[in-house]
């Protein structure tokens, strides 16, 4: 037990290196929030654009969705950070991480929102027309509110899954929680900073995970 505490909960090490780890927390929170905002925002726009049913645009959006659903997050981050500079586009680790994760999340949310719009029964459109509403108005006032309700649990799950990818920023030297903890661990020759980072990640994501379970139960999908 003493060995365990000395290794993973060493108070002297934590006192010396804790502040550095906490510094990374702020970056992690920023990247997480920006990724969710950008990803879900762009995903919504892409899903709405598909409602226009323009053939070429549809194909482009479908390509985007399939591509970013297929590529691992870390692969996207690495390509954006290490390959784009050859095309004259050099991004900071922060920008590269947010851009990559945002693209990935946009693909998943576009797919989910578009599927949810399609899942609203066709009778809802007919009913809207029978009330004398026009297409865009039906979409906005009748179909979208129902689609959003359908999409929310899936969207929440996916947003959390992608947001946890902020830790992958460590691969491109983004000074977030994990990479700061790794440097501190190397400096102190003791993994307590990693434990601290683990605890902070849990504090950040555990409420989200528990919240998403609650959302899921409320909508009772699997039935």
């Amino acid at each position: 037990m003493k060995a365990l505490l000395d290794a993973f909960g060493n108070t002297a090490v934590l006192r010396a290196h804790g502040p550095a780890v906490f510094g990374g927390l702020w970056v992690t929170v920023q990247v997480t929030l920006l990724t969710i905002l950008a990803g879900v925002g762009l995903g919504t726009i892409l899903a709405l654009l598909r409602c226009l049913r323009l053939r070429v645009l549809d194909l482009l959006i479908m390509f985007w969705i399939d591509l970013f659903r297929s590529l691992p997050q870390l692969v996207v981050i690495i390509v954006v950070y290490f390959a784009l500079p050859y095309a004259g586009v050099s991004l900071s680790p922060f920008a590269a991480t947010v851009l990559s994760l945002g693209c990935v999340l946009s693909a998943f949310s576009a797919e989910i929102i578009w599927a949810a719009i399609g899942a609203v029964p066709a009778g809802q459109w007919d009913a809207g027309r029978a009330l004398g509403l026009r297409g865009p108005r039906i979409l906005r006032s009748v179909v979208l509110p129902q689609a959003v309700r359908l999409a929310t649990p899936l969207l929440a799950n996916r947003a959390i899954a992608v947001a946890k990818g902020t830790a992958l920023g460590a691969a491109v030297a983004l000074p977030e929680l994990l990479s700061d903890a790794q440097s501190a661990t190397a400096l102190a020759a003791n993994p307590s900073p990693l434990t601290l980072a683990g605890v902070l990640y849990l504090l950040l994501f555990l409420p989200l995970v528990v919240g998403s379970r609650w959302l899921e139960r409320r909508s009772s999908f699997i039935g």
């Binding site: 659903r69 690495i78 390959a83 999409a151 946890k164 999908f221």
Partner: protein, 228 residues
Amino acid sequence: MAPLNDFIESFANWDSLVQVHWLLLQGLRVTILLAAASLPLAMLLGLGAALGYFAAGRWVRWGLLGLIDVFRAFPVIVLLILIYYGLPFLGVRLSNFAAVVLALVLNNAAYFGEIFRAGLLAVPPTQTQAARALGLGPWQAMRLVVLPQAVRRVVAPLATNAMELIKETSIAAMVALPELLRSARVGQEQTYNPTPLIAAAAIYAVLLWPLARLTARLERRMLQGAAG
């Protein structure tokens, strides 16, 4: 034409590709091995956790649910770093392959466990009662009556999560295991050219594209079911 030529020279450089293709193929082999080792283990462990949840008393239930949530909340890369760089301080030294498999299995078993649990919860209890009334034992009722119905309900999330696990094998690059992504990075540094990275991304995309389409279709069907 000059900009286009520059572009091809950088991102689709044939010489670079020829030079590193064996590196990429070896990497792909490791990626496939990682997925093949982790996916069945994670699924079985997840199923075990879900069945345990239904068989056990209240305290074990709470414990299992807590474990599932903790491992779902923990980014898998943080888990991997803790296992690979933290455990040696306790005298436990795993190879990087074993560390990656362990991290992927723990993380994804939690996801699979939650999925199986939701599926089992959705089967009406009358099914168990009917099975028991027909003279089946509790385990037989679970295996022959409840579980098949539960799995049918959760095919979509199971497939989605399996795909996520395959993609997550790329985190092995962060502990210097030469799977596809890591091999591509090495290739890029050897040839001073990003073509290996683009090639690796193309391999991932081509191999996972069918799976992405399949999971999208399954998810759509699930949404349609939910919309009634």
